[in-house]
């Protein structure tokens, strides 16, 4: 019971205005999700920075490991045909 009264850590995501995604703003401590939302509101939107908030327990996030970044991300680097600039189109062709 008494081994820890530390409040867990939460990650805060803020939608700055409608039409935009939530982006990570930072973290904070709160005893539970409801208080985490309120603390996030007070801390991360007190200058009118947001219209919507997400809070996620930090421990619930699974992240890719920096050690695996070569196998995760490098294979995508040599596939330029996924990008529109890969293709040559004669001048004057419109709406393409």
């Amino acid at each position: 019971m008494t081994e820890s009264t530390d409040w867990p850590l939460w990650e805060v995501f803020v939608r700055s205005r409608r039409g935009l995604s939530h982006t990570h703003a930072g973290s904070l401590h709160a005893p539970d999700a409801e208080m985490a939302l309120r603390n996030a509101r007070d801390l991360y939107t007190r200058r009118n920075e947001g219209v919507s908030l997400w809070v996620v327990p930090s421990a619930a996030i699974t992240a890719s490991s920096p050690d695996e970044k070569d196998s995760f991300f490098e294979p995508a680097g040599d596939k330029p045909y996924r990008h529109p600039t890969f293709y040559e189109i004669p001048e004057g062709v419109k709406h393409l």
Binding site: D6, W7, G26, L28, M35, S58, T62
Partner: protein
Amino acid sequence: METVTAQDRTTAFDAAVAADERIEPRDWMPDAYRATLVRQIAQHAHSEIIGMQPEANWITRAPSLRRKAILIAKVQDEAGHGLYLYSAAETLGTGRDELLDKLHSGRQKYSSIFNYPTLTWADVGAIGWLVDGAAITNQVPLCRCSYGPYARAMVRICKEESFHQRQGYESLLALSRGTPEQHEMAQDAVNRWWWPSLMMFGPPDDESAHSAQSMAWKIKRHSNDELRQRFVDICVPQAETLGLTLPDPELKWNEDRGHHDFGPIDWTEFREVLKGNGPCNEQRITQRKRAHDEGAWVREAAAAYAAKHDTARHTAQAGAAPAAATAPLHGEATA
């Protein structure tokens, strides 16, 4: 899979720093880099939290409702900035409780400037102009610090703090142009805060223990003396507009250097205050500890309630998961 050797990691880290890339929480980093960052970010966070006290000292006596609102908002920002910074420190695998413990037990420091008392209302203005001014001079380069979470916290802080300095200046200006008593109050405050503000940049470069390594790691971007000089050069014309005098008879423009010369700083005083012998060291820590200790039952109550009700069903189990150490967005302490 080939194994990543320690040598590879060091090389990759050095290359990233050299290329001005950001180091992120889960990247490998030298233990000393991590330790330096934790020390610096914690000290910075502690300074924000302790720094609330000298200004909060005047909230209940603010002489107009407009000034009162400004001051509450400013002191609130300092709490907020402390929180941003503790959260940056936590990405290095050190929990806030541990950092607060170190603050309370004197094992980590905060900026010595807050060991000076706010004796009159004008001190609030002088802190805004000089202390926040010095802090901003120090902090703007930190927005490009090599450690990502610290740099991002500083971007946010610098953006928010721009009002702090301006309100201080405006407040001092009102006093300086007010009644003779108000003018005198403003001059007295500037007399008392000028030298401690210059000390905020830290010891001279040739005596600074951590500077060289921090510069190499791009945690720090400019030397103490360089930033101090920049601050003096900024303040001199601002003081003229205020109609106040900076308390340094040796202060004068040096055409050859393109900078202002200024008198010697009393480093004995700096070291004494740092050692704990400043006017308010004891008082500041005592109040901080008292707030923390007297708040323990509140924090316990909220944790107990969460455990009972498991609100929203996904409360990260307090106690079972010391979040900072296991959170994947955050680094694992290697020490």
